[in-house]
C-alpha cells in the first residue's frame, strides 16, 4: 500500500546523468591514452569531447529546472551535504580543467602558457582526470542517498554508473577511431579488448546490483520487476551490452581495417544507446517505500 513509482525524474535527468558519466569516461580514457603516449589524434578529440559532453548534459538539467536564470543560485549557495551541490562543483571543475588540458592539443590554443608535455599541463590534466572520475560516478551517490527509494539506496550504484561511464567513454573513443581510421589494427584490437573487459565488468555489476536489489525487500524487488520491459531487457542488456560485447570480442579476430571500423562504429553506437537507456530504466524503476501496510 502506498508503494509509489517515482515520476518526478525522467528522460531529461537520465540524459544529464548519461552525458555526465560519458563525458567523464571519455576524458579519463583519453588522459590514460595520453599518458601511455598512444593514439594521439583519438585521445586529442576524446579529451575535448569529455567536457563538451558534460556541458551538453548540463543543458538538459537546465531544461529540467525550467529556467537558466535560476542556475546561478547553484554556484552562489553551497550545501556541503548535498550531492547535487557537490556534483555542480565536480562538473564545473572538470569542465574548466578538462578544457584547459585538452585545448592545448589544438594549434589555435598554442598561446596558452602550458602544454600536455609540461609539468603544469600534466598537473592540470591530473586534476581534470580526478574530477572526470568523480563526474563518472557521483550520480550514483546522488541517487544512492535517497533512503525512501530502496532500489537506488545501494552502495553498488556508484560503481555501476562508473563502469557504465567508462563503457560509454570507450564507445566514444571507438567511434572516433572508426571515423578517423588512424590507430591501425593493433589499436582497434587493444581498444576492443579494453571494451570487452569493461562490458563484462559492467554486466557483472549490473547483475550484482539487480540480485542485491531483488533480495533487499519487497519495494526494491518491485523495482526489479518493473525492469522486465523490452526497453531494459532488449535495449540495455541485449542491444546495449551483449551485442557490442560479441561484436568487440569478434573484432579481436579480425584484421581487415574496414570491417574493424564497422564493428567498432556499430559497437560504440549500441553501447551509447544502452548507456542512455540504462540510466532511464534505473531512474524510472525507482519505487518509494510504502508508508504503512494493511
Amino acid at each position: 500500500m502506498f508503494q509509489e513509482r517515482q515520476t518526478t525524474f525522467g528522460w531529461l535527468v537520465s540524459a544529464d546523468l548519461f552525458l555526465s558519466a560519458t563525458g567523464g569516461g571519455v576524458f579519463l580514457i583519453s588522459f590514460i591514452l595520453d599518458l601511455l603516449n598512444k593514439y594521439e589524434p583519438v585521445a586529442r578529440i576524446g579529451g575535448i569531447l569529455g567536457p563538451i559532453l558534460v556541458l551538453i548534459g548540463a543543458s538538459f538539467l537546465v531544461a529540467e529546472i525550467g529556467s537558466k536564470a535560476k542556475l546561478y543560485k547553484l554556484f552562489f549557495n553551497f550545501n556541503l551535504s548535498s550531492w547535487m551541490s557537490r556534483g555542480t562543483w565536480i562538473l564545473t571543475i572538470f569542465i574548466i580543467f578538462g578544457l584547459a588540458y585538452s585545448l592545448t592539443a589544438f594549434t589555435a590554443f598554442g598561446w596558452l602558457p602550458w602544454s600536455k608535455a609540461t609539468a603544469l599541463g600534466l598537473g592540470i590534466g591530473m586534476v581534470a582526470a580526478l574530477f572526470a572520475g568523480l563526474a563518472t560516478s557521483y550520480t550514483g551517490f546522488l541517487f544512492g542517498v535517497v533512503k525512501g527509494i530502496p532500489f537506488w539506496n545501494m552502495p553498488i550504484l556508484p560503481l555501476l554508473f562508473f563502469l557504465s561511464g567508462l563503457c560509454t567513454g570507450i564507445a566514444i573513443i571507438l567511434a572516433i577511431a572508426s571515423f578517423y581510421n588512424t590507430i591501425g589494427v593493433t589499436g582497434f584490437h587493444q581498444l576492443g579488448a579494453a571494451g570487452t573487459v569493461l562490458i563484462l565488468l559492467q554486466l557483472l555489476a549490473l547483475g550484482g546490483y539487480l540480485e542485491i536489489a531483488r533480495h533487499s525487500g519487497v519495494t526494491s524487488a518491485e523495482s526489479v520487476h518493473l525492469l522486465k520491459t523490452p526497453l531494459f531487457i532488449g535495449g540495455v542488456v541485449m542491444v546495449g551490452l551483449l551485442v557490442p560485447f560479441c561484436l568487440l570480442a569478434y573484432s579481436l579476430a579480425v584484421r581487415n581495417m574496414l570491417i574493424l571500423s564497422i564493428l567498432g562504429g556499430v559497437s560504440s553506437v549500441l553501447l551509447l544507446i544502452g548507456g542512455l537507456f540504462q540510466r532511464y530504466c534505473i531512474v524510472r524503476a525507482g519505487v518509494s517505500r510504502p508508508l504503512c501496510c494493511t
Partner: protein
C-alpha cells in the same frame, strides 16, 4: 528549550472527508495538487477495503509534510533553500530554490510538490495573497508550512481547525504538558517510516 511544532493525528477519528485537504488548498491558494492529502489504506482504490466480508480492513491516512528533525529534503537541497526553523518547521526559501526537484525525490513521504502551472482557477489574486500570505513561485518546490502565516497570528493550521471529528491535534512537542506530548506518551503514537531515522514531527494514533 525552543518550541518544536508537531501534530498528532488520530486515525480512529479520521473519516476521510478530505475537509483538511480543501481547507489547505483554500488557505494556501493551491491550484495544482495539494500540500495535504488523505489516502485510503485498504483496497486498491479510494474508500475501498481489503479482505473479505466480516473481515475487512480500511482506514484513512492523512498525509502532509512530516517536518522531520533530520529532514532528507534539507540534506539534499543543493542551495540550502530547504531549511529548518528553530521551531522545527521545514520551509523553502524561494530566493534560493532552483526547482531541481531533488527534494521531491528525496522525501520518503511524498510531501513535496512542484509548482509548474500558474493560477488555474483563481481569477486575479489568490486567497493566500489576499490575506497577505507568502505568494507562490513558479518552477519551484512547495510544501506544507504548517500554515506558518496563521501560526504567526496565533491560530492553528487550517487542517487542524476544520477537522470535523477533532482527529488532528497540534502543539509543541518539546512541552511535556502540551496536548500533543500527552497524546504521544499516553497513546503510544507512532511515526511513519521510523526506521529511516528522519524523526518526523507528525505522529499517528493507531486506528
Amino acid at each position: 528549550m525552543s518550541k518544536r511544532y508537531g501534530m498528532v493525528i488520530d486515525l480512529k477519528r479520521c473519516i476521510g472527508c478530505h475537509y483538511c485537504v480543501v481547507a489547505c488548498k483554500m488557505e494556501n491558494g493551491i491550484t495544482q495538487g495539494s500540500w495535504a492529502r488523505v489516502d485510503t489504506v485498504g483496497g486498491q482504490t479510494m474508500d475501498t477495503a481489503s479482505g473479505e466480508y466480516l473481515n475487512l480492513i480500511m482506514f484513512y491516512l492523512p498525509r502532509l509534510c512530516m517536518h522531520c528533525r533530520d529532514a532528507p529534503c534539507v540534506e539534499v537541497c543543493p542551495t540550502g533553500a530547504c531549511y529548518q526553523r528553530e521551531d522545527g518547521i521545514v520551509m523553502v526559501d524561494y530566493d534560493k530554490c532552483v526547482g531541481c526537484k531533488y527534494c521531491i525525490v528525496a522525501c520518503p513521504y511524498g510531501a513535496r510538490y512542484y509548482n509548474k502551472e500558474g493560477s488555474a482557477y483563481f481569477a486575479a489574486e489568490r486567497p493566500n495573497e489576499k490575506l497577505g500570505y507568502r505568494p507562490h513561485k513558479l518552477h519551484m518546490t512547495e510544501k506544507c508550512t504548517l500554515c506558518l502565516d496563521r501560526l504567526e497570528s496565533g491560530k492553528e493550521p487550517a487542517c487542524v481547525e476544520v477537522c470535523p471529528t477533532g482527529a488532528r491535534h497540534f502543539g509543541d512537542l518539546n512541552d511535556p504538558q502540551s496536548e500533543v506530548s500527552q497524546l504521544i506518551a499516553r497513546k503510544h503514537a507512532s511515526q511513519l517510516l521510523k526506521d529511516l531515522g528522519t524523526e518526523p514531527s507528525v505522529y499517528y494514533l493507531s486506528p
